[in-house]
């Protein structure tokens, strides 16, 4: 039996974890959400939920992976019993479904980096370029390339592949973001953008939408509840302290988001300072969806600034680095699961690449399908996070804290507040998010909100969740047996 590979040092899991957490969501979603939610005021609940939702969930995940030395399904089975392994299967499926289309997004970033560097994208009409790109066969080709590169990195193993790649990608990403910030802040009227970003209009805190958006941004951006950091923790050392790693990832992720906002928002303000300037106009731009802002507006914005082509290439390079570092964590999650089931790393990766290419293909060629999948499974992460909470509740929060989280020889220990957080605050936050989403959907479209055929409805989400959950509960005995009985320790 081969001995399991571990990260070369403590920094290995920190770099890999930062790579997992800092993704395209930090660069394209955060600046958009913070602008829509009124700028500065949003930052207060966003920081608060880092402590109330994201860091506790990251602590739970790292502890489970480190204790059980199994992937997500095996971890659930070992912690709360094989009858509940289906919760781990659901968490795995949600992240895998996201990986299918995330690979498409990674391909877009790669394409835009190449197009800016070699095809003079900045001189072209960005809207036309986006439409002609997405309606061609190229997204499928770049989807294939992204999976190929990701597969190659994880095939090299935990130390030579994942750890080495993230040791290069993460510091480079932070350097690129800092360069983009310096450029952004040296543009005319940039400080108006900074003023908007950091003006704490406290009246906005009375709006519950600000709080719920802050919670969802923190949860989805840090990767809490995805099962990704649990997978990396399988390769951590015994002395690894889950609390320290979680806070490093949480704060590092928030720092990357802030840098991205400083790079994007003042650039938008600067662009409009030379035109018909108004906050309303800026908000209109920031209200464009993720793809709209990044692939249509950003090339437009950079085309108007000095050395714009160079900085646009830099922006898409940073975005590609962020996307790849997250994509490999998603691919490794499935690789670990298949290795738990007895596959070799090589066979597991080959299977994942083929499945991800085939199942991600519809998202590569149809924006409608892409949008539906993004909607259904990014909301599924809410349930994934709740399943981790249930696992701790079933195990007993005090018992979990003392026997699973506690690191021998470490001076940093969790206190009773963790129990209170798991028993009351995590479930409350889940119910608030779920209730808010139901209410918003119903009040927004009372006739269509439960229509299964409508791509953005509650109905289509619940329908796909129920099918997945039903299937996993039905097959639980077979899956749990496979995951928990295999002795493959590599």
């Amino acid at each position: 039996m081969k001995k399991r590979e571990l990260f070369a040092s403590r920094w290995g899991i920190i770099f890999a974890g930062l790579g997992m957490a800092v993704g395209t969501g930090n660069i394209w979603r955060f600046p958009r959400i913070v602008s829509q939610q009124g700028g500065g005021a949003f930052l207060i609940p966003w920081i608060l939920f880092l402590f109330l939702w994201s860091i506790p969930l990251l602590i739970i995940e790292i502890s489970m992976g480190k204790k059980t030395r199994s992937g997500v399904i095996g971890s659930f089975g070992k912690i709360i019993g094989k009858n509940y392994a289906w919760m781990g299967t659901f968490v795995t499926f949600v992240t895998t479904a996201i990986m299918f289309y995330y690979s498409v997004v990674t391909g877009w970033c790669l394409k835009y980096f190449l197009a800016t560097s070699f095809q003079g994208l900045i001189k072209k009409d960005s809207l036309e370029f986006w439409h002609s790109f997405t309606s061609s066969w190229e997204p499928a080709l770049f989807h294939f390339a992204a999976l190929g590169i990701g597969g190659f990195i994880i095939y090299k193993g935990v130390v030579k592949g994942i750890e080495r790649a993230n040791r290069i990608l993460i510091p480079s990403l932070f350097i690129l973001l800092i360069i983009a910030c310096v450029r952004s802040l040296t543009l005319p009227s940039a400080f108006q953008g900074l003023n908007f970003l950091f003006s704490p209009n406290l009246a906005r805190l009375a709006d519950y939408e600000v709080w719920l958006n802050a919670l969802s941004q923190s949860a989805w951006s840090t990767g809490a509840g995805w099962g990704l950091i649990l997978t990396y923790a399988v390769y951590s050392h015994k002395k690894e302290n889950p609390m320290l790693t979680s806070t490093t990832l949480g704060f590092g992720n928030n720092l990357a988001s802030l840098l991205a906002a400083v790079a994007v928002i003042p650039t938008v303000f600067s662009y409009f300072s030379t035109q018909d300037f108004s906050h309303q106009k800026v908000l209109e731009v920031m209200k464009a969806d993720n793809q709209g802002l990044t692939f249509i507006w950003i090339p437009n914005l950079f085309s108007k600034i000095p050395a714009g082509s160079f900085f646009l290439a830099l922006f898409f390079l940073a975005l590609s680095f962020a996307a790849f570092s997250s994509l490999i964590s998603m691919m490794e999650l499935d690789t670990r699961i298949l290795m738990d089931a007895g596959f070799s790393r090589k066979k597991a990766i080959a299977l994942i690449c083929v499945c991800a290419f085939v199942l991600g293909f519809p998202s590569a060629i149809s924006m409608g399908f892409f949008t539906n999948q993004d909607w259904v499974w990014s909301l599924g992460l809410m349930v994934s996070g709740f399943f981790f909470t249930i696992a701790v509740l079933k195990f007993g929060p005090k018992n979990f804290r003392q026997n699973i989280i506690s690191t021998p020889g470490s001076k940093i220990r969790l206190k009773k507040w963790f129990d209170i957080l798991v028993i009351f605050l995590l479930p409350l936050q889940f119910l608030a998010m779920l209730g808010w989403w139901f209410w918003k959907s119903y009040s927004g479209d009372p006739h269509n909100w439960f229509n299964i055929a409508s791509s953005g409805s509650v109905g289509t989400v619940l329908f796909q969740w129920v099918i997945a959950l039903g299937l996993f509960i039905l097959l639980n005995k077979i899956i749990a047996k496979k995951m928990l009985s295999n002795k493959n320790d590599s």
Binding site: R10, W11, I14, G40, L43, I47, F191, Q192, L194, N195, L197, F198, S199, P200, K239, N241, L244, T245, T247, T248, G250, F251, G252, N254, L255, L258, S410, K411, I412
Partner: protein, 31 residues
């Protein structure tokens, strides 16, 4: 940029950068 926004920016960066830096420092000490 107003003084209020400037101070708030310092505060937010201090929390994130400080938290990140301190966690990295403790990691390097291997506590």
């Amino acid at each position: 940029m107003t003084l209020e926004a400037f101070l708030f920016m310092i505060f937010i960066f201090a929390v994130c950068l400080g938290g990140f830096g301190y966690s990295l420092y403790l990691s390097s000490k291997n506590k």
